[in-house]
Amino acid sequence: MSLNSIIQIGMSGVSAYQVATEVTGENIANVNTPGYSRQRVVLETAPQSSSNGFSLGTGVTVTGVQRYYDGLLQQQMATAQTTLGYDTTKSNVLQQIEPTFNEVSTNGLGAAISTFFGSWQDLSLNPTGTAERQAVLTSAQTLVDNFHAVSTALSDTVTAQNTSLVATTDSINATLKSIAQLNGQIKTTQMASGNANELKDQRDQLVQDLSKQIGITSTENSDGTTDIKFADGGAALVTGQQAGAFSLDQTNPNKYVVQLTAAGSAGPATTVTPTQGVLGATLALRDTIIPGYQSQVDLLATTIASKVNTLQASGADLTGAAGIALFAPATTSAATIAINPAITGTSQIAAAASGSAANSGDNSNALAMAALQNDTTTMAGSTFSGSYNTLVSKVGLDVQSIKNTVSRDEAFSSQLSTLRESNSGVSLDEELTNLVTYQRSYQASSKIITTATAMMDTVLGLIS
């Protein structure tokens, strides 16, 4: 044991506390970095030596820099992100659709249906009146316009969902590629026994981002890399440094088909059906939810058209001839419903009973037409207006329940984030306290060196 070893011990303290201060600095600098996990130095006593007859350590040594990390929590957060991504997308799109059905504060399709049948009531009081006949034609046109407006709003939303698939799959592919690259860097760094904490934090953050878009399961390997599998079907998305890729079959421009080339697979892309995350919600909206509303509106349009056309045919118009169809005969949906082009004048409205003479004041057909408003035989036990009101309520209910689900998801996510923050987040007060502690320790270690130097001086003074 020599004076030199005292200097060595002081030296080990100085350098250890320098590293500790560096780590504290890194923590403080990254206090607001998303996904950053706080780190700490692991200090151990340096190997012992017994050169002076008894065993004594040779100072302090930094054995590693660890990050505070909870793998299980990360997986839970990923699952929560997937649910949140699905529900948020659905909620946003449904809230965009809701104003189309907002009959509560504006007049829309429901009012147009009432007005149309009301105009037949007016006609029944003056069956030969030109003004009343014109009112029937005008309200029929308004009804057609309203059907078109609702139908266009719905089909535009479907198109928007389809187009958004391009951006969504592109962003997923970019994320998959980044994760694979980070896996490679982590592996290389760890092999050189380096510290890959920051790279791992970055990768974990990307996994979180990815889980918002699609449902995934991830497993961490012993070499530090993470493998990711697709939750819908189990295909490999990332294996080590290889990334899979999503692609779109655009054969049908209105309905892209999502395909997947699994990681490490050379073969052709296979069709997949994502059901989770943003991608799953986009597909569900495009294929099920919005077409569901659309088919209800279509049914309403076709039923009204066919009922009115049948009654027109069973009555007589102002010239005494049998009435012709009021709505275009080939009406199959709310998008294509139109006034029959053959209707060119008000005299073609069939207000009188079949077989009536020209200019008849008979109103029985107009009455029958007006009575359609209360007809409950065709729309599953409700009237036309009632059936539309039910649809409005259903849209309202869907929006309300998804809004509630989203706020629940957000609360859950925020709770998980709090848990993660509690474990891995940087506390400035803690870091500042550590900073003071490490500074004092650094000063003390320096003092040991100056003391040893003074002792050395004393010894050298003896010699001279």
Binding site: P99, S105, N359, L397, D398
Partner: protein, 301 residues
């Protein structure tokens, strides 16, 4: 649990957001004064509101139907009163000469007056409504139902029904054959052909045929009763329309009350909630401001 400054900050943001969301919801309620602004605010009540709105529109439509039908019936009633007056005049004319002792000049005057009265009856029976419809012509609205040249009825006996409440109709017109020709059934007012009675009377007066004149007078009485029957029928229909209007109006009031119970905001409640929420929000803001300023940095020199 370990607490970090970021946790405090995130929680503060989340909770302030929740506070502000409730505040903005209350503000929406107090400015629109409506509980339901979009269907998702309360889907079930929104459905009820829409149903009520549809029923209100239908009620308005029925009331408009009744108003128009009432106008038509007023015109009919005036015409019937005129017809009834003419019958009374004819009856008193006949009373003046029925003894058979009148001279030829007197009989000629009476005969001329009877012919004029018949023309007036025909004119009155060809009364048109405001829309230009012949009110006694049934559905053949554009051709006059009666003429001076022939006693035949050119109209039809169709009753024009209108809807006065859901699935409830009311005949609006009285056809000329029932009142002047004594034909038609359901309703039938009598079986006297009034126009023919006038022709018979004129012939009897000209021939001074006392028996025929007596018979004609009897027929005139029966004819007057026929018109009175029609007036009674019309009056009862108008009474029904009146009571339907009252029923529709009372239904409308009930429906409007139901709608406003659902839709109208209780301002007192919202006002109290709003001020509570404002207090809570400002308390949250001031607490956040105080806590987020605290740091060990303030004490380290």
């Amino acid at each position: 649990m370990r607490i970090t400054s970021n946790m405090t900050a995130n929680n503060a943001i989340y909770n302030l957001q929740q506070n502000l969301a409730s505040l903005s919801k209350l503000q929406e309620l107090s400015t629109t004064q409506q509980n339901i602004n979009t269907p998702s605010d309360n889907p079930a009540s929104a459905g009820v509101l829409l149903d009520i709105a549809d029923k209100l529109k239908a009620t308005d439509q029925y009331n408009s139907n009744i108003t128009k039908a009432s106008t038509f019936m007023q015109v009919t009633s005036t015409a019937l009163t005129g017809l009834s007056d003419f019958m009374t005049q004819a009856k008193s004319l006949m009373d003046s000469i029925s003894s058979g002792t009148s001279d030829a000049t007197q009989r000629q005057t009476v005969s001329n007056q009877l012919a004029t009265l018949k023309k007036q009856i025909v004119d009155m029976a060809n009364t048109q409504s405001a829309d230009g419809q012949y009110i006694f012509g049934g559905t053949t609205g554009t051709t006059p139902p009666f003429s001076n040249s022939s006693n035949a009825y050119a109209g039809d006996s169709t009753q024009i029904n209108i809807e006065v409440a859901q699935n409830s109709t009311q005949a609006m017109n009285i056809t000329g054959d029932r009142i002047l020709k004594g034909t038609g059934s359901n309703p039938s007012y009598g079986s006297t052909d009034i126009l023919q009675t006038f022709d018979n009377l004129i012939a009897a007066v000209n021939a001074n045929d006392v028996t025929a004149m007596k018979q004609g007078s009897t027929d005139l009485d029966a004819g007057a009763q026929q018109i009175t029957n029609a007036q009674i029928d019309l009056a009862s229909r108008m009474t029904r329309l009146d009571s339907m209007t009252k029923m529709n109006t009372s239904n409308k009031t009930t429906l409007q009350n139901m709608a406003s119970n659902i839709q109208e905001v209780d301002l007192a409640t919202v006002g109290v909630q709003l001020s509570q929420q404002q207090t809570a929000y400002s308390a949250a803001l001031s607490a956040t401001a105080k806590i987020s300023q605290m740091s060990l940095l303030n004490y380290l020199s």
